[in-house]
């Protein structure tokens, strides 16, 4: 099966170092993942679709078409994009009339959606290759306590996502174990980080983040592992805001799971751009060296 990357907007436009770690990880696993030109915003499942469902379907279907035309499947680096692309595919598969309606819109740009494209979240592809990950580990991240944050759109709605358990997810923790680290069990693991609420109420968004951070802290974690750029930004950039609002002192280093895997594969901090992190990662690097 051949894959091409769907990078989305946030990763290439704001967090390119996360992209670097993902590309290097897949390279190391011996997987050739191509690049696709011309795709647009997925569009954001928490944004554009809330304004007009039809436009969301049409833009999403156009993106699916591009990959379909080049006979490749989608490897998405973002949970939001994954959910949109999977949900659009699901909706058009379920409802032929809707598919015809969307195709009549796509016709205006000379495209037609057929339905022959698979969409996968990068963490799913990693999990499917967990045995070769284990084999490639050079520097197990021994004694590192990692709180995984699956995030919402990696899991739910399960009828559409068809991946992992929506309420008791295990894939990320198994990946963390595979690289020799200790997954941390914490009570709010499946809760939302609060990022989408920032669009309507920043204070509530920060309270949601604070609830998560507290739960992680109580469980004694050293750092946080994410698989979605929206969640990543919420944890990485907004811990400070929580501290300001609530007089707390959260300062957890936040990683994309591909960064941790790259480190365990023996790549160095420079190669994957760890210096771009806002919350410094030095202590973690020391701990695992």
């Amino acid at each position: 099966m051949t894959y091409k990357y769907f990078l989305g907007c946030v990763i290439p436009g704001r967090l390119p170092y996360l992209e670097a770690s993902a590309r290097k990880t897949f390279e190391k696993l011996g997987m050739k993942v191509g690049d696709q030109a011309n795709y647009s915003c997925c569009p954001d499942p928490t944004g554009a679709g809330q304004l007009d469902h039809l436009t969301w379907l049409a833009l999403g279907a156009r993106n699916l078409c591009l990959f379909e035309e080049s006979n490749s499947n989608i490897l998405s680096l973002c949970s939001g994009c994954t959910e949109t692309l999977k949900a659009v595919k699901y909706s058009l598969e379920k409802d032929n009339k809707l598919k015809e309606e969307i195709n009549s819109k796509l016709n205006s740009i000379g495209k037609k959606y057929k339905g022959n494209v698979e969409v996968k979240h990068f963490a799913q592809v990693l999990y499917e290759n967990i045995d070769s990950i284990k084999k490639k580990v050079k520097k197990p991240l021994k004694d590192l306590k990692v709180a995984s944050h699956p995030g919402c759109h990696y899991l739910r709605p399960s009828e559409i996502m068809q991946w992992d358990d929506p309420l008791v997810p295990k894939t990320l923790d198994e990946l963390i174990e595979a690289i020799g680290a200790d997954p941390v069990d914490y009570s709010l693991k499946i809760d939302c980080c609060g990022n989408p609420v920032e669009k309507s109420n920043k204070d509530i968004s920060l309270l949601m983040l604070e609830n998560k951070l507290k739960s992680m802290k109580d469980a004694g974690t050293d750092c946080i592992a994410c698989v979605c750029p929206a969640c990543y930004q919420q944890f990485e950039f907004n811990q400070k805001e929580v501290n300001k609002n609530s007089n707390t002192n959260y300062n957890f280093p936040v990683f994309y799971i591909t960064e941790l895997i790259a480190l365990a594969f023996g790549m160095n901090a420079e190669e994957i751009g760890l210096k771009y992190h806002r919350v410094k990662t030095d202590e973690i690097l020391q701990k695992i060296s």
Binding site: G13, R14, S40, N201
Partner: protein
């Protein structure tokens, strides 16, 4: 006591029939992280109740509870014993709010405008382009603007969402 507005209720049900199955158990609100963080100010069960009653003015004009607070985390959808597709219902209500010209949060407009203008929610800035070079990442080719413009015209996006506030 408020009377049921069947016309509006049926309008919502036309979008998603699962609304009918709600028996108001409150599971959705009890597991909703936004309801928890807002101490009940946000309340998905209540929005569903108002939908069952067809209370158009509360839902669309006054927006009480504030439907824009939903994080779309899909916990309610996962846990509802009646398989009510809450987020689908909320999405069609938000579409109605936007497309009847009622107020909605600015951040949604900003994102929509970015998509209309550039095809992406976040464009690559010069410092990010430099950073990509440093990291030896390939160029990102942006989407064909004319193609996108034509598609958005076909779905009538700009007009529908009242982006310039001229309604």
């Amino acid at each position: 006591m408020q009377m049921v507005n069947f016309d509006f209720k049926n309008e919502i049900i036309k979008e998603d029939f699962s609304l009918n199955y709600c028996y108001q158990c409150g599971t959705c609100s009890s597991i909703c992280p936004v309801a928890f963080a807002s101490e009940g100010e946000y309340n998905p069960r209540k929005i569903i109740e108002e939908s069952l009653m067809g209370l158009k003015s509360l839902l669309i004009k006054e927006q009480k509870p504030n439907i824009w607070l939903c994080s779309t985390c899909q916990m309610c959808v996962e846990e509802c014993p009646q398989e009510v597709f809450l987020t689908g219902i909320f999405e069609s209500l938000k579409n109605k709010i936007v497309q009847t010209g009622e107020k909605y949060p600015e951040a949604f407009k900003v994102q929509a405008k970015a998509i209309i203008d550039n095809g992406v929610a976040i464009s690559l800035s010069p410092p990010i382009i430099r950073r990509r070079k440093e990291l030896k990442l390939p160029n990102v080719e942006s989407a064909d603007r004319i193609e996108l413009k034509n598609l958005l015209k076909a779905t009538n996006f700009e007009k529908k969402i009242n982006i310039n506030g001229d309604r």
